[in-house]
């Protein structure tokens, strides 16, 4: 077990030697502290390294290396199973993605779709989640059941959610939504292809995605609401603050940090959308151009067009978007969480 330890990487005498060069006293006191420790020699560095090794190796092999590899591949023209050697392409893949009149169309459309999706989903889903959280933040007997019901779709695999909504939004006049609209309009509706029509495909995608995800945000906001001290509401009530004033001056400031966190989390998740698009475009007749997302574009480019270099460039762009959003999130959330 100890035969392949990477011992030379971390020389144990290091930490003690370093301070002894500059001053003698601290080194001595450190050594005397150390001698009070149990065991003749402190081998924590070895155990620490061994304990973290499997996870660290796994993360490097399956996250770190492929991530760096994506950047490298994006500078090449690479195809799987091609007899030709990969050729260095410089920034050509990126130029093609953004400016080539023949190739940039679908990619820019995917970026725009993702942006549209995020711009609608982030405020709507966060507001809905907040509404639900406030509604569910009260002491009623069956409140746990209600919370579970609203949370339930979160555990549904997205592929299944897509299939259920494919039926609800089915284009025939027998589809659930169409027949419901027909009933409320006294027979004036008929058939409409919600997924197949370019004008409503994105809206359909947004609705089913919010339905699946809103419970997740709701639970986070509920936890935030429950951290607001009840005395604040009592004080507000004593001051004859209306419900709206309580919401505006107690609830909102109290969950400001959580709210920003939820909004940023949702925007990152919005850019990761893939499963439902893939299922509904491939088998559900959803309009491809109106709903393709950046990840959908990466997968089709890699898999269907066997263009690994360009797919890697898409991946890199995707990552930059996500990182920028995440960094903004950390910036914005930190100060709110500290008070």
């Amino acid at each position: 077990m100890t035969s392949v330890e990477p011992a030379p990487a971390v020389p144990p005498p290091g930490p003690e030697q370093a301070p002894s060069v500059t001053s003698v006293k601290p080194a001595r006191s450190k050594r005397s502290m150390r001698s009070t420790r149990p065991g003749p020699k402190n081998r924590d560095w070895l155990h620490g390294l061994l304990m973290s090794a499997p996870a660290v190796v796994g993360l490097i092999v399956f996250v770190g290396v492929p991530f760096g590899y994506a950047v490298v591949l994006s500078f090449y023209n690479v195809r799987l199973g091609s007899p030709l050697e990969p050729t260095f392409f410089g920034l050509e893949q990126y130029r093609r993605l953004f400016t080539d009149p023949d190739l940039s169309g679908p990619f820019l459309r995917a970026l725009l779709n993702n942006l549209t999706f995020a711009v609608v989903v982030v405020p709507v889903q966060t507001a809905l989640a907040l509404g639900l959280a406030i509604l569910l933040n009260r002491k009623l007997k069956a409140i746990g059941l209600f919370r579970s019901l609203f949370f339930m779709p979160v555990v549904f695999p997205m592929a299944l959610v897509a299939v259920i909504w494919r039926l609800i939004l089915a284009r025939s006049d027998q589809g659930m939504l169409n027949s419901a609209l027909d009933a409320v309009s006294f027979g004036n509706w008929g058939a409409f292809d919600w997924l197949g029509d370019g004008a409503t495909a994105m809206a359909s995608l947004i609705v089913l995605s919010i339905w699946q995800g809103v419970g997740f945000q709701m639970v986070i906001l509920l936890a935030g609401l429950q951290q607001i001290p009840g005395e604040l509401y009592e004080a507000a009530a004593l001051d004859r603050a209306s419900r709206w004033q309580q919401f505006r001056h107690v609830t909102l400031p109290g969950i400001h940090g959580t709210l920003v966190f939820v909004a940023m989390l949702t925007s990152v998740l919005s850019f990761r959308v893939f499963d439902q698009v893939y299922v509904l475009v491939r088998g559900g007749g959803m309009d491809e151009d109106a709903t393709r997302t950046v990840m959908y574009q990466a997968v089709t480019t890699a898999f269907d067009q066997n263009n690994i270099g360009q797919a890697s460039a898409i991946t890199v762009v995707f990552f930059l978007i996500v990182v920028v959003l995440t960094l903004i999130q950390r910036r914005v959330v930190r100060p709110g969480n500290e008070d």
């Binding site: 930490p15 065991g39 620490g48 304990m51 090794a53 499997p54 996870a55 190796v57 993360l59 399956f62 996250v63 770190g64 492929p66 590899y69 994506a70 591949l73 690479v78 799987l80 639900l132 509604l135 569910l136 009623l140 069956a142 209600f146 019901l149 339930m152 555990v155 549904f156 695999p157 997205m158 592929a159 299944l160 959610v161 259920i164 039926l167 089915a170 025939s172 027998q174 659930m176 339905w211 986070i220 509920l222 936890a223 966190f261 893939f274 499963d275 893939y278 299922v279 990466a298 997968v299 890699a302 690994i308 797919a311 890697s312 898409i314 991946t315 995707f318 990552f319 996500v322 990182v323």
Partner: protein, 280 residues
Amino acid sequence: MGTTPTPLRRFMDYAVLSVLAFVFVLPVIYLFLGSLKPSDEVLDGLSGFLPTHLSFDNYSAVLDSLDSDSTGYFWGFMGVSLLLAFVVVTGGLFVNSMAAYGLSRLKWRGRNAVFTLILLLMLVPFESVAVPLFYMFNDQRNTLPILALPFIANAFSVYQFHTFFRSIPPSIEEAARIDGAGPWRTFFAIVVPMSKPAFASVAILTFLIQWGSFLWPVLMVSDPSVRPLPLEISVFQGQEPPDWGQILAFGVLLVLPVLVVFAFFQRWFVQGVASSAVKG
């Protein structure tokens, strides 16, 4: 909120919540009802919601129609999904908790650098490594290990365990170590049993994400014998003409395991999701 609500107000609360919840779960009701109805009655306007002609025929039909090497076997898909979930969850708990302990409780030079690396890798979503991984492991397509391996080591799980371990008072471990227990024994015999809430919430979150995992199988699986359930439902719903009763029955079978886990462990689950998010 602090004051006791009047009976009328309470009634209103229940009424509003009930109506909203009912509308919200309609798609779930539709899924379960439809799975029990003859296929031609599923896509039949609003009468799709009428509980008529209920039977389990669709379920046996799913098992019968997915029963050959070319289509794959239903229990094969289920087996693949269960196996992958088991490996990713148990392997992940083991590997990630151990790393978190080594990084939070043992003092060694370089541990801060390693932990910073893990925090940085937490920024990288799986989506941004899927394409290069697909390229790197292309010769492993349609094999089981590669479907599980990328998800065992998980930076976010390490982070969750790390946060939890740091909240445990160190005195208990110090006592054990003075009694001569090494770090491994201290970890497995003392820290792990004390950390059940962390293990429960990480396990459930991992299981949930793994059970719905879709992107990686799309890239790596074409052979039905290693196809997990979520990928298979996208294949199964693409049949022409679609047999809606069977598709919904398949959907119920797909979601049942997570619903069971959710029903039994939802306290841990909701806590895990919420606390990790609020702490950020």
